[in-house]
């Protein structure tokens, strides 16, 4: 009798366990029902941010929820696992309704084209965003994301080191020859310091900006590598960096180079606006100017942009769009200052961003870079090409390899 009782209990427990599991899944998953409960439309919103940024986002989401009786947005912070989770979600038809997005070529098939939504908002809506940003939030002729933030790259320099070496600080019209000369002087005059640093294993996506600045690219409009990646102009770029490393005036860093710059070990490096907050906190006496040019044309920067997208399988697209509009509004652009560079002309003007010398170059670079589309948007299997390129670059810049630029690039173009 007692045995029977125990058996029944276990059965009951097992049952509740699994039913319980399913129950909670059905409630939060978009797969369960029409996503409505208690008259409210539920929207799942996935973000890649972490820690304090998530708190700020949650506060903003709460604000939206308070203002809307009929919509309830839940924030899902995926953090560093963002890509894995979105990939898995897309594979299993369990995508959040709204999500942050940057890699449009990889995910466009799961996203809702937003052009008709944008048109409905009237012409001025689209015009208020910096034009370059739309290139980066579109793929194959359709717009898949509304810009949230961006960064271009710019040249950071340490004012104290330039004073110590007794040379003029960089200006917006510096060329790479100026950088080389200054690097040499700094390395010679400042004990234990290097004039310039660049990444030993640069992200190929970022690195293309130097090729653009010298009038070439990885691939042409048809996606052909041969004659582009290994063109003389491309080789020139790689050769210049390798030469600087070889002669010792520059150092190739394992990571972005921010650590070395913060520690005051390097005089200059090229990076995005990500490090501004850290550098300010550390009290580094730094300045920012445009990326140096190769002489013949203005320098071009890559854009690292983030947008907000809608899943094409979302069951509540109107509500999702409502939330996207809120998230990309002037109010939210102002809210995010300090975390993201604002993407709206009106906000940049009203907040006087262009008067702040550490931010202005990023906008100059943004406007200078409007006609360029990264190869990742053109070449079919970019992630594999990127992996091959990354290895090739490392072979050129890793101090234990330092292979011949021309040979490596010719080989890479054959793949």
């Amino acid at each position: 009798m007692r045995k029977k009782l125990v058996a029944m209990l276990i059965l009951a427990m097992t049952g509740t366990m699994f039913l319980g599991g399913c129950g909670s899944d059905g409630g939060s998953g978009s797969g369960g029902g029409d996503g409505k409960s208690g008259g409210k439309v539920k929207i799942r919103f996935a973000s890649w941010d972490e820690a304090e940024d998530v708190d700020a986002q949650q506060a903003a989401v709460d604000k939206f929820n308070d203002a809307h009786d009929d919509i309830e947005v839940t924030l899902e912070a995926y953090g560093g696992e963002f890509d894995t989770k979105i990939s898995a979600g897309m594979g299993s038809n369990d995508m959040p309704d709204v999500m942050y997005m940057w890699n449009y070529p990889a995910y466009s098939q799961g996203l809702e084209p937003l052009d008709t939504y944008i048109e409905k908002e009237g012409e001025d809506y689209k015009k208020n965003f910096y034009d370059t940003l739309w290139n980066y939030n579109s793929y194959d002729g359709s717009t898949y994301g509304i810009p949230i933030g961006f960064t271009t790259h710019a040249l950071f320099y340490n004012k104290d080191i330039f004073a110590e070496a007794g040379i003029d600080e960089p200006t917006n019209d510096w060329t790479w020859e100026d950088v080389q000369a200054a690097s040499k002087t700094i390395t010679e005059k400042c004990e234990g310091k290097k004039g310039f640093s660049f990444q030993m294993k640069p992200d190929p996506y970022d690195y293309e900006m130097y090729l653009w600045s010298n009038g070439t690219a990885y691939v042409d409009a048809e996606g052909t590598l041969e004659g582009n990646l290994n063109s003389d102009k491309a080789k020139e770029v790689f050769q210049m960096f390798q030469d600087m490393e070889k002669e010792g005036s520059a150092v190739a860093t394992e990571k972005s180079g921010t650590d070395e710059f913060r520690a005051g070990n390097t005089g200059m490096y090229v990076y995005g606006s990500w490090s501004i907050n850290t550098l300010k906190e550390d009290g580094v006496n730094f300045g920012v100017v445009n990326i140096p040019s190769f002489g013949s044309q203005p320098s071009i920067s890559i854009l690292s942009s983030s947008g907000i997208s809608m899943s094409k399988d979302s069951k509540n697209k109107e509500a999702a769009w409502e939330f996207i509009k809120f998230w990309t509004s002037e109010e939210m652009n102002k809210e995010r200052i300090g975390m993201e560079l604002p993407v709206l002309y009106s906000v940049v003007e009203s907040e006087g961003i262009m008067e702040q010398p550490e931010y202005a170059p990023f906008y100059t670079m943004l406007e200078q870079s409007s006609d360029y589309t990264p190869s990742s948007f053109i070449y079919g299997s970019w992630s594999e090409l990127s992996e091959n390129l990354s290895l090739s670059f490392e072979r050129v810049f890793n101090p234990s390899a330092m292979e011949n630029v021309s040979d490596v690039l010719d080989e890479a173009a054959q793949q």
């Binding site: 097992t14 890509d83 990939s87 594979g91 995910y107 098939q109 294993k201 992996e387 234990s400």
Partner: protein, 311 residues
């Protein structure tokens, strides 16, 4: 009457039911599904396309990285597995010594195991940094100029092995419990017979714990092939792809290149390799593993069994 017998038979299964359901849903299900996937070209968002053995053929014919990564993983396993077992056994021997404060050391040695792989990677990233790392600083005190661990392809795999040996604690604990179970009188008898500690170790401890060695050998072979966290976070597969382990290769194929079918095929090939290796180890085990129940058999093969008394 009959009903009662059925319920009696069913009750044990009822007890393990939660586990069985979990096993079917979360292990067997995905396992079979991944086998199916491995025969498809399975992109992320588009519809899967059946390709038969296409993925497997591609792997063995046109994908150069496959064999490269496989060799890297084999190399890693070949160095890491024995090294890890020797360290674990050594530490286990240390913490079985009757010394004051041995419990503290036991805890210290075990602590790294409970730290998450991510934290371990970050920690070792700092320790191994070529310019500012503490390891190279210590080496410089000895007058040695340390290599750039994570930049020089010749040293990077060793750097990964050192970092993974950090998590030796759980294996050490398994050895420890087994060594503790050896009856003390065996050692007493050996001491009376005049056997020194080294002799005692090789003639008593080692033969008795061979089943545990077998267990640790197999689990560490498997885990060394599955090593992903550390290389992903510590080296990112570099420098120059010198630590592009098979696990990372599979992971990247799935979640970076979005070739889910191909990655499933990668995983199944790894499964077969592990299966063969495990089978080989098991096959060889009859020659070197000593079970108490077959004490006679081992003695015949020439190994000295010093077990006395308790029989």
């Amino acid at each position: 009457m009959k009903q009662k017998r059925i319920s009696r038979k069913a009750i044990p299964y009822l007890f393990i039911l939660p586990w069985i359901i979990g096993f079917l849903v979360f292990t067997i299900g995905p396992l079979i599904f991944s086998l199916v996937m491995s025969f498809f070209d399975w992109p992320l968002a588009a519809d899967p396309k059946f390709v038969g053995f296409g993925n497997y053929i591609e792997m063995f014919t046109s994908d150069k990285q496959f064999s490269k990564s496989l060799i890297i993983s084999l190399k890693y396993a070949a160095i890491f597995v024995p090294l890890n077992m020797i360290i674990a056994l050594f530490l286990a021997m240390l913490i079985t010594q009757p010394v004051r404060g041995v419990k503290i050391f036991r805890t210290i040695f075990y602590i790294p195991t409970v730290i998450s792989g991510v934290a371990v990677s970050i920690l070792w990233g700092w320790i191994l940094n070529g310019d500012y790392g503490v390891l190279n600083y210590l080496l410089s005190l000895l007058g040695i100029e340390g290599p750039k661990w994570l930049v020089d392809p010749a040293w990077a795999i060793l750097a990964v092995i050192i970092a993974s040996a950090f998590g030796v604690g759980s294996m050490m604990l398994i050895f420890y419990t087994d060594i503790k179970n050896i009856p003390i009188d065996v050692y007493e008898a050996a001491t009376i017979d005049g056997a020194n500690p080294a002799r005692q170790f090789f003639s008593i401890t080692l033969p008795i714990i061979t089943p545990t060695i077998l267990f640790n050998l197999i689990t560490s072979i498997i885990s060394s092939f599955q090593q992903v966290t550390l290389v992903m976070l510590l080296t990112g597969g570099g420098p120059l792809k010198s630590t592009y382990f098979y696990g990372l290769y599979t992971y990247n194929n799935a979640f970076k290149h979005h070739k889910l079918g191909y990655a499933s095929a990668n995983a199944w090939v790894m499964f077969l390799i592990i299966l063969v290796l495990t089978a080989l180890v098991f096959k060889s085990s009859s020659a070197w593993v000593f079970y108490e129940s077959e004490a006679g058999g081992v003695a015949k093969k020439g190994k000295k069994s010093k077990r006395g008394g308790k029989r």
